[in-house]
Assembly symmetry: C2
């Protein structure tokens, strides 16, 4: 069969799925492409939801990069929203689809199948975990639900469970909405992808902003009021009044369809893929949060659910589905966020990860300024680097600081990818002028201490 | 002779000279180190002068990283300001020194000599070029002179000659001081280290801010008033009233001492050095703006006068002067500046340079946003990349944009140093969150168009 005659079915209409579908459409203008999306939206910026809830973005529509109608009309991609794929048949090359509005099921054939079902929030198995007022953030609809709940019920006391990216961003958002905010986390630190010396500054900034922070406390019970809405939580230490609860305790790959279909799973239960995004079954591909990635430093498959990675997965899958031949080089776990004006970023291995992997490493944390010390707006920045003992090769970096600090992580990400040593980073020809940096960029100041 | 017994004489007490002297002192606590500095200041941030003149930094003292007294007392480095070295004798290992205050000359012996005399502004040979009200920016004193001239004479109309970094920064500074500002440049564009398509946006921003801009016009005459102060300029096109003139037409290496001493000169008249900062004469070293650098992409010596490079030169010279063994890997000509809120940066080869070198290249310029399109403060950014035809290797990059745009040049600088291709840059794991970047960083969007 000619490649352009091969019918492509995509399960999931967000970043990975629609990136792939769009790429295939550009290469093959006449090919049949069908996308089944369980929700109402396609290609939306889930990362923008906390800022929408905060009121910093005035409409949820703005988070939609491209609506289903646009895909259908402009790109002639047959996007069907509110259609959930419930089973994959790899022998007969069919998927079983549930039309959620018409409440009927049907089968759709495919020649190539791309699974791009994303990730799902982990929800603890507790009574009342789905009571009104208790939310997880995942789909755009979930963000709209939180926004509308705040509008309608005007909650006053929020408890956020989990101090990762979502927890930190939602703390900022809910403070912006004038709620009292408490955050609990089972771990002894926030942001478990960072090392404790870096995470401490984040905790301090949150407490300074009025967030009540309880670390090393686990959620035990959720109690509702007479109206059925959440009213109180208990941890192993205390009772907390709450009329809004945000769960941000982690996500897992939404790979449920794969296993019964005989498609192998890999890291953390994500769908196993090669560097071209092929699964273990011929003509079945996976991309985005449901699929694993190769970790460039760990040199093994890993589960990283991020929009950047999903977009790259989708592009790589799309190129290869169109007869191209590219490989996804892998991930470093680069991530960035902020709490109010405190910027936070990380890439590569943390010190913890290096230690857990049994790597001989050295790590240093330096404090510097984002601009020349005499320049207005010069702000504190902490940079931590982890290098391999002996070779001096940079393995990871973390940054916490004020305006202009965190995007410097990209320099470290590029250096790690290129297998540079700390000495090589120290001598990089980085940009300096007083409004932008000290004469030695803070990344280089950190590198110098390790070279 | 034991290395620690070797007397080190340094000519020039700014970034390169004092970085080297400080490094040697850290390694050799007892070694004799003498620094002769012609001016009154050491280790100052010349790049901060426009912002000091603008009134954004409240004292010139803040630009001094470390004063002579501190070097003398804390580091026991014998820094002698107002002492000008007028000749080098490499046979007998002596320098002839003029004490500018006592008006006497003497000789000083050395075992190792480091020339770190910096660069000097190019001043056209025109009558009245040194009249009151006409300034070049070079030393910290020259910046103080401009500041005091504005305070004392309250000039109203300034003409800046030259549209490079100094010209652009001084235009901002003088607008801040409520002067009427005219800028003339012989070239058809501003910023000759950028390509015309990128420089056009800078010209537009300057005109929008009220700067009168005359390109392709050369300074012809300088006329003074009855008080001897500058009053009017003429170009080949027009007369311009001016009671303050800033010359920013370029700099040359201050390498005058080298040639009569038999020390070889190299690129653009800068002192020839190897990657360890050794000159052609044994035990004579050079570092900073007076010395050439190896250009990583051009793979040949070049003259780049920048504070970052001077600091690295000084560190490398200092390490090697202390018995270490390091090489300076070279430069990319990375530079950054701003005009008001328009940020400007470049690294590696411009399209012009690639063309002049006869390299087969491809270049693309893209427009994107600094943040997610829906996020408050998302601002325009233009990124231009130049890649080698065939290999796709990134040769250079340029960025013009608003808040948060220009420091992204560092990612490109790291990628060029690592000899990455555009495709490799497109797949780098760079940081994304709505307040910091679109999901594809603009650098990657540019890379994708070329991969």
């Amino acid at each position: 069969m000619n490649m352009t005659d091969r019918k492509l079915v995509v399960i999931g209409g967000d970043a990975a799925g629609m990136s792939a579908a769009s790429k295939v459409r550009r290469e093959h203008p006449e090919r049949e492409i069908v996308v089944f999306e369980r929700g109402r939206h396609t290609s939306y910026a889930a990362c923008g939801m906390p800022y929408y809830i905060a009121g910093q973005i005035d409409s949820a529509e703005k988070l939609v990069a491209r609506a289903p109608k646009v895909f259908r009309e402009k790109q002639r991609i047959d996007v069907r929203t509110r259609h959930e794929v419930v089973a994959i048949d790899t022998t007969n090359r069919r998927v079983r689809v549930r039309d959620l509005d018409a409440i009927r099921e049907f089968e759709e054939s495919w020649d190539d199948l791309l699974i791009a079902t994303g990730a799902a929030p982990i929800v603890p198995d507790l009574p009342n975990i789905r009571a009104p007022g208790v939310f997880s953030l995942s789909t755009l609809q979930s963000g709209i639900d939180v926004f509308e709940d705040i509008e309608r019920h005007a909650p006053r006391r929020a408890v956020i469970v989990g101090g990762g990216y979502i927890g930190i961003e939602m703390a900022e958002a809910l403070l912006d909405r004038d709620l009292e905010v408490t955050l609990i986390d089972m771990a002894p630190q926030l942001m478990n992808t960072m090392d404790p010396d870096m995470a401490d500054g984040i905790a301090k900034a949150m407490r300074d902003a009025g967030v009540e922070l309880f670390l090393e406390e686990a959620l035990k019970t959720i109690e509702t009021g007479p109206d059925g809405r959440v009213r109180q939580l208990t941890t192993d230490q205390r009772r907390l009044d709450a009329d809004l609860v945000i769960l941000g305790i982690g996500i897992r790959p939404a790979s449920e369809l794969a296993k019964p279909a005989g498609i192998e799973l890999g890291a953390a239960g994500a769908i196993r893929v090669d560097r071209q995004m092929r699964t273990s079954v011929p003509n079945v591909w996976a991309a985005g949060d449901c699929a694993e990635s190769f970790h460039i430093v760990k040199e093994e498959p890993t589960f990283i659910a991020l929009g950047t990675v999903a977009n790259k997965h989708g592009l790589v899958a799309g190129i290869n589905l169109s007869g191209g031949d590219v490989e996804f080089p892998g991930v470093l776990g680069t991530a960035i966020t902020r709490f109010e004006d405190l910027e936070i970023a990380r890439t590569g291995l943390s010190e913890k990860e290096a230690r857990d992997m049994g790597i001989a490493y050295r790590a240093k944390t330096i404090e510097a300024l984002t601009r020349s010390h005499y320049f207005p707006g010069a702000a504190k920045i902490k940079v931590k680097l982890v290098v391999e003992e002996g070779t001096g090769r940079v393995l990871g970096g973390q940054i916490v600081g004020r305006a202009g600090a965190a995007k410097r992580i990209d320099t470290i990400a590029a250096a790690i990818t290129a297998r540079m040593t700390a000495e090589q980073v120290a001598y990089l020809d980085l940009a300096y002028a007083p409004p932008f940096s000290p004469v030695w960029d803070p990344v280089q100041t950190a590198a110098r201490t390790l070279s």
